[in-house]
């Protein structure tokens, strides 16, 4: 079986995690034969729009539905809840030609989700194993780290914009990764909306924080316009500066071939 790559994308809110995810996916589709799973782990669920796919339901909604059925006592007592949830999660997948999209959504409802989440982790592990590449577009908060959602990640991309807070968030993410012993092979710092003059500063910051330097993505009018009018980023012209820059990162991540 081909080598599998799991890549997570995190960073402060608004730095462009979703943009980076979309551009990497576009690069993968155009330059390789690989099939990927794209997971929108941000409760805001913006990725489907940015990729131009239609989402029916989220994993959060499926879990809630199962939980409601449990409470209402309408589930058969002998059925395996794991199998029910597994099928429900599979049915939330948006199946495109070259990628499948899974949106986690919000974890809804009150009460105990210990069992549901425990089962869910195993279901997602199994699903992820079926793809050559998985992109996890993480939420802005750092909770996913303490929940160890990133534990099977090969490479982690931390996206920052040219701001103090962006760098500080990157530093905190790195500290948390060390603290909770997440075993990631590479952590890259990627600067989004950076000018070439800022590159040196970014490199220095990456060094300082203890991250690998991932490169910069320039401020790109096409990206801005597409996001503004809600056009899918997968359709952005190939000569857009941001898309041209993403190729270098894709190669660093080992997405080639």
């Amino acid at each position: 079986m081909a080598e599998k790559l799991v890549i997570s994308i995190s960073g402060k809110g608004g730095t462009g995690k979703t943009t980076v995810t979309a551009l990497l996916l576009k690069w993968l589709i155009q330059n390789t034969e690989k099939i990927s799973l794209v997971v929108d782990a941000d409760p805001a669920t913006n990725l489907p729009d940015v990729l131009g796919v239609e989402l029916q339901r989220t994993v959060g909604q499926s879990s809630k539905e199962l939980k409601d059925k449990i409470e209402a006592g309408t589930l058969s007592p002998t059925l395996s809840k794991k199998e029910v949830l597994e099928a429900n999660v599979f049915q939330t997948l948006v199946e495109e030609d070259r990628f499948d999209l899974l949106a986690m959504g919000r974890s809804e409802g009150e009460g105990c989700y210990c069992f549901v989440n425990n089962v869910l982790t195993r279901i997602l592990d199994t699903l992820t194993r079926n793809y050559e590449v998985a992109f996890l577009d993480m939420e802005a908060g750092l909770e996913h780290l303490s929940r160890r959602t990133d534990r099977d990640v090969d490479s982690m991309i931390i996206v920052t914009d040219p701001s103090r807070m962006g760098f500080e968030t990157a530093r905190r993410i790195k500290e948390l990764v060390d603290e909770v012993h997440i075993d990631v092979k590479h952590i890259y710092l990627v600067g989004n909306r950076f000018t070439p003059e800022m590159e040196e500063l970014l490199q220095k910051s990456a060094d300082d924080i203890g991250l690998e330097y991932g490169g910069i993505i320039p401020l790109d009018e096409n990206v801005m316009t597409f996001n503004l009018v809600g056009k899918p980023l997968l359709e952005i012209p190939d000569d857009s500066p941001a898309y041209e820059a993403i190729g270098k990162l894709a190669k660093k991540l080992g997405l080639t071939g």
Partner: protein, 464 residues
């Protein structure tokens, strides 16, 4: 596996977890786009079926255009000296596993919710007929479940026949579930333990039995069985129940042993069906809570979604705080809503005959499972606002608890506003209490007392 040499695709455990993407699939059997689908195992007499026969009614796999879906039914009939009706569910539960052993075959869910996909790749390799699928299943079932002596498989894609069988299958599942709901703790030798919540409550362990769901409501005895089988050393595991210490309260040697281990010696005994003495501990995320109301000698039951105040003026959060944390607190009992549907619900304490109050919402949801004569006597927030009104309600509706009041000598739930205790003569030298001059010692002994006070004030006597 040499056993499958004549099958065009590989068969083995390594294919479990394989997912067939929409663009890679040749055909989908059942699934969300089809209303009618089912898989059903039926026990038959030895003469009723022909061993090894595979019947296909309707179109076969290769007859369908690429990337289509179809209504689908699979009936597996089994026979053998030891094959009984009760085993149908057991055999059926294996289908998911066995189907997923097939290379390029995905099987999801169960019963009338099945979704199966066959990949283009496996189709191109020659897996083009239900005959192949039948062959694989027949061999796996017979080699893994030795009690099956004869097996006959029928694949149906003919829409009208699938529809017809679908309704029959629903009835059969329903009957099976009714039987499972009636299963008692005495019917099994193994319970299941769940330590998933120990990150919040380190001394808490849920004991899951056929008649006592996990506190969170998510794990039935059947779920326990399925989960422990996949990962026996995981957070959900077997508890051999061992010898019965007390059938009424639900105390078992095996359960106590495991509780002692898993609570690190903190909890020594657990009695499953009572809230007093050695009650089952509560994590923090139980669906509901039973709380003792001493004024009426009965229980209130409240669930997590109830936002108002209970009849004794508390809200769920307060009650939850009093109950949670893996402790044994007399009169406070975290539980699942499903446990309220169980015949063992607070059985040792008098069961539903002892419940006097619960929120309207939850009452409506579970009333079909309650003794019918009790239902109208249990008050809700729309019937009574406080304990005073509750007492009148219980007497008016003739709740069985009222009888209990007269049986218990000395217990008279009369209206008590305030009582004045006569000044006590304090014997000298007990222990010092701040604000009380030395030499003014006292002793307080309360035996068999049932007291509820808003405040307790101890005043030093001014006359020295």
């Amino acid at each position: 596996m040499s056993m499958f040499e004549d099958i065009p695709v590989d068969v083995g455990i390594i294919y479990e977890g394989e997912r067939i993407r929409g663009s890679d699939m040749r055909i989908e059997l059942g699934g969300p786009r089809e209303e009618y689908k089912f898989e059903l195992v039926q026990a038959r007499g030895m003469d009723e079926i022909e061993d090894g026969k595979v019947i296909i009614i309707g179109q076969d796999i290769s007859d369908f255009p690429e990337r289509t879906n179809t209504p689908f039914g699979l009936i597996i009939e089994v026979a053998g000296k030891e094959v009984e009706k009760d085993l149908e569910g057991v055999v059926e539960r294996r289908l998911h596993e066995y189907c997923n052993y097939i290379e390029g075959f995905m099987h999801l869910n169960q019963r009338y919710d099945i979704q199966m996909r066959i990949s283009k790749k496996s189709f191109d390799k020659g897996f083009t007929s239900f005959k192949h699928m039948g062959e694989v299943l027949k061999r796996l079932f017979k080699s893994e479940l030795s009690f099956i002596e004869k097996i006959q498989l029928t694949f149906i894609t003919e829409p009208d026949l699938v529809k017809e069988w679908y309704s029959k299958a629903l009835e059969i599942y329903e009957a099976r579930d009714a039987k499972a709901r009636g299963m008692s703790d005495d019917d099994v030798d193994v319970f299941y333990g769940c330590s998933l919540c120990q990150s919040f409550a380190p001394t808490h362990l849920c004991v899951i039995t056929p008649q006592r769901y996990a506190n969170c409501g998510a794990i039935s005895w059947f779920d326990g069985k399925a989960t422990a089988k996949v990962d026996p050393k995981g957070p959900v595991f077997e508890i051999p129940k061992g010898e019965v210490i007390d059938a009424k309260t639900g105390e078992y040697v095996g359960v106590n042993k495991v509780i002692q281990e898993k609570s690190l010696g903190e909890i020594e005994r657990v009695q499953l069906y009572t809230t007093f003495g050695y009650p089952h501990t509560s994590c923090g995320c139980f669906e509901g809570c039973a709380f003792f109301i001493p004024e009426v000698d009965g229980f209130g039951v409240v669930h997590r979604n109830f936002k108002g105040q209970t009849v004794n003026g508390l809200n769920f959060v307060t009650i939850s705080d009093l109950t949670a944390g893996g402790r044994q607190v007399d009169g406070f009992h975290g539980l699942s809503i499903e446990y309220m549907r169980s015949l063992k619900f607070l059985d040792a304490d008098g069961g539903w005959g002892r419940v006097v109050w619960m929120p309207q919402d939850i009452k409506e949801r579970i009333q079909d499972f309650l003794p019918p004569e009790i239902v109208p006597t249990i008050a809700t927030e729309s019937d009574v606002a406080d304990l005073h009104q509750l007492k009148s309600w219980l007497m008016e509706k003739n709740h069985p608890i009222v009888e209990r009041w007269s049986e218990e000598p000395g217990f008279a739930p009369t209206e008590i506003g305030e009582i004045t205790v006569p000044t006590l003569e304090m014997p000298a030298s007990a222990f010092p209490i701040q604000g009380i001059p030395s030499g003014m010692g006292f002793t307080i002994i309360l035996k068999n007392a049932k007291i509820k006070a808003e405040k307790m004030i101890i005043k030093a006597d001014k006359r020295r």
